[in-house]
């Protein structure tokens, strides 16, 4: 009975306690413990346009995230993350939901986790092709780090020494959250060619299709051979990003109504990655075979197979100035398609074909850091630069001012969406 009360107390605390909630309660029998903490975020994005009046276009929202943990004894732990999102200009972003809610059991070499959990499928210091299956809220296509969505499923691990075997099975509904209407990243068709000229078109919603009996399955085996870390991974399930097709409802009415058919097609990824070091450099590489689908040149869904290779290095420098340090991650990516044809700039799974990614951060002193994320896509000729200035002078408040500059050829993702270049201010503060 007392345990039931503890569970109820924790759940009530998680969902309703808000900013004024207490942080830690330790029960008398020492078997149960609960912790609760959270943070508030405010994000404002400004999109400078060619028209000076566009400078004042902004997109802002606030988020509160509460995270609670319940432990029972040595082996059991439960965790829940509840997120409240408020966006004055975008009703679709006004949400309160439990993004994670799971329990896990750990004893000796065994680990089992069940419930709703966010998953990052890739295991690489840089971008891994296994990450193509990660499920996000794509309100913004570039800022996805805080937008990972939970998925119901199971994770089991067995580890012994330096070898680990992992199996995951998740619910088939791996669909990312998409915003097709009034979205800077989506251009819904407005007009179509008809005999004798053009006709206007009217969007009438979407229909989603995915294989409802196909769980998202994954397995990996990792070990160390000498000073080389080796990991083989495999994943099969529905893609989180759909292929879209326009389906006209009728052709006689004007404007012509249409529905967007979203096909979340099955995909399989097999990857092998290696990691080691030389001197003070950490080195890593991954080769992945991807068996997926895409929209062919004639509009039909066709196989899309390619090999994705990447080489990367990272290093951390400290300096004589005791507050200063520099972190650098560099990655080169090369995709080898198994069939001819070029990828459209709007195919998000194909942003990178021959690309160089740089991620670096210089801590100038304890209060200030400067960072740069840079991506250059050489085959489609596009680039993205994201300089950031991070201030912790008013800790625990963290303020981050960043720019996001997309550019290059219209055949590349970055050039195609160059009007989405932005300036952003991000404020984060712990609230518990």
């Amino acid at each position: 009975m007392r345990h039931l009360k503890n569970i109820l107390k924790t759940l009530l605390g998680l969902y309703f306690s808000g900013i004024a909630a207490t942080t830690v309660a330790q029960e008398a029998d020492n078997n149960w413990s609960t912790t609760l903490h959270g943070q508030a975020r405010v994000l404002s994005r400004y999109y400078p346009g060619q028209n000076p009046a566009d400078l004042y276009r902004w997109q802002g929202e606030a988020r509160a995230e509460l995270e609670g943990e319940v432990s029972y004894g040595k082996y059991w732990k439960g965790r829940a993350v509840v997120i409240a999102n408020v966006n004055p200009d975008e009703r679709r972003r006004n949400r309160l939901w439990a993004n994670e809610a799971y329990v896990y059991y750990r004893q000796g070499h065994y680990f089992l986790k069940a419930g709703k959990q966010t998953v990052k499928w890739g295991a690489l210091t840089g971008f891994s092709d296994m990450d193509l299956a990660n499920r996000y809220d794509y309100y913004d296509v570039l800022d996805t780090e805080e937008e990972r969505l939970g998925l119901w499923g199971l994770e089991a691990r067995y580890s012994k020494g330096r070898t680990e075997f992992m199996l995951r099975a998740f619910h088939p509904d791996n669909r990312s959250r998409l915003y097709l209407e009034d979205n800077r990243w989506v251009n819904l068709p407005q007009r179509m060619a008809v005999p004798g000229g053009e006709a206007t078109m009217a969007y009438e919603g979407t229909a989603s299709h995915y294989q409802k009996r196909l769980p998202l399955l994954s397995g990996s085996l990792s070990t160390e051979v000498g000073r080389v870390q080796v990991r083989g991974s495999w994943l099969y399930g529905n893609n989180d990003i759909p292929l879209s097709q326009i389906q006209l409802r009728t052709s006689s009415t004007r404007p012509v109504p249409y529905q967007v058919q979203l096909h979340f097609e099955p995909m399989m990824i097999s990857a092998l990655n290696l990691g080691t070091w030389a001197g003070e450099w950490n080195l890593w590489a991954e080769a992945a075979f991807v068996d997926s689908k895409r929209i062919g040149e004639t509009g039909e869904i066709t196989p899309d197979q390619y090999t994705f290779c990447s080489l990367g290095a990272d290093r951390f420098w400290t300096f004589e100035h005791p507050e200063r340090h520099l972190r650098l991650v560099a990655q080169f990516l090369q995709v080898f398609p198994h069939q001819s044809g070029t990828y459209a700039p709007t195919e998000i799974d194909h942003i990178f074909q021959t690309a160089l990614l740089i991620d670096t951060e210089l801590q100038i002193n304890y209060n200030w850091s400067a960072a740069l994320r840079a991506m250059g896509e050489f085959r489609a000729e596009g680039f993205y630069l994201e300089p950031r200035l991070i201030c912790k002078a008013w800790a625990p408040l963290r303020a981050e001012l960043s720019g996001g500059w997309l550019g290059g050829s219209g055949q590349s993702f970055f050039g195609h969406f160059k009007t989405n270049s932005r300036i952003a201010l991000h404020l984060i503060r712990p609230i518990l």
């Binding site: 903490h37 943070q39 040595k74 896990y104 750990r106 000796g108 070499h109 680990f111 986790k113 990052k120 295991a123 690489l124 210091t125 780090e145 691990r157 580890s159 330096r162 680990e164 160390e224 000073r227 870390q229 990691g275 080691t276 070091w277 030389a278 001197g279 003070e280 450099w281 950490n282 890593w284 400290t318 004589e320 100035h321 005791p322 507050e323 340090h325 002193n365 304890y366 209060n367 800790a395 625990p396 963290r398 984060i428 712990p430």
Partner: protein, 258 residues
């Protein structure tokens, strides 16, 4: 006659100081543990007064190799932008330590290039060599000379000089050590470079018993870098010594599934 009596009384009442080797062995025994857990909060303070504070949970387990090497797991718990980051170090006698890093943003742990002994530990003024010596003084690597007794922060201490034995690769040319006479813990250390320059001063205070096994620990330490003016202050809490730590937690799986 009176002079002779005084001399005899003085001779017999002068305490005989233990030799340096015995003091250092007592120190090693006082610091040696089978396992240790606890929380620590460190604050780096720059010469100009800027501060950086981090809180960690530490797990330490002596390896079963029969020497004084340890497995060390540190997990950041605060502030939130680094919470969840963890490092695992497997110390190796006479070899580079093995190290892994877990970054929550990547959700993966990776083997990283071993830190040099002179690298600063987590941006503090404490180097990996200092940390290793803090866990277990490398007695065989140094030649110790007892210089006398002094009082440090109200505690009677033996003052010793530690000179590295020939061939030892160390960032220090000399250390002056003050060992507490009551607990045999280090209460102060002065570190000198190979040219004799004073580099840093370590001070340990708030020494209290921990648990019922007769162990004592300093609950506050400070490392002042005399060259740069930077200081690191560490506050310990929740010590548990030899209470049993599951060996399975010193693994990448454990770091990834926290």
């Amino acid at each position: 006659m009176i002079l002779a009596f005084t001399l005899i009384v003085t001779l017999f009442s002068t305490p005989v100081l233990p030799d340096a080797a015995a003091i250092m062995e007592a120190h090693r025994q006082a610091t040696a543990v089978q396992d240790l857990t606890g929380q620590l909060t460190y604050t780096n303070i720059s010469k100009s007064g800027r501060k950086q504070t981090r809180t960690l949970q530490q797990y330490i387990l002596r390896t079963d190799k029969g020497d004084y090497t340890y497995n060390l797991l540190l997990e950041f718990t605060d502030p939130q932008d680094v919470a969840g980051t963890a490092t695992l170090t497997i110390q190796q006698e006479r070899k580079d330590d093995e190290q892994w890093l877990y970054l929550p943003a990547l959700r993966m742990s990776k083997r990283i290039s071993p830190s040099k002994k002179s690298d600063r530990f987590m941006g503090t003024e404490i180097t990996y060599e200092d940390l290793s010596g803090h866990l277990s003084e490398p007695i065989d690597d140094y030649q110790y000379t007892l210089l006398g007794e002094e009082t440090i922060n109200g505690r009677s201490a033996y003052k010793l000089e530690a000179l590295p034995r020939e061939g030892l690769r160390t960032q220090y040319g000399k250390r002056l050590l003050w060992i507490d006479q009551a607990t045999h813990l280090m209460v102060q250390t002065r570190f000198y470079g190979h040219k004799g320059e004073h580099l840093k001063t370590y001070t340990a205070t708030d020494i209290r018993p921990v648990g019922s096994g007769g162990h004592h620990r300093a609950h506050q330490i400070k490392m002042e870098n005399v060259q740069t003016g930077n200081t690191t202050k560490v506050q310990y809490s929740g010590f548990a010594i030899n209470a049993g730590v599951d060996a399975a937690i010193f693994s990448t799986t454990w770091m990834e599934t926290r």
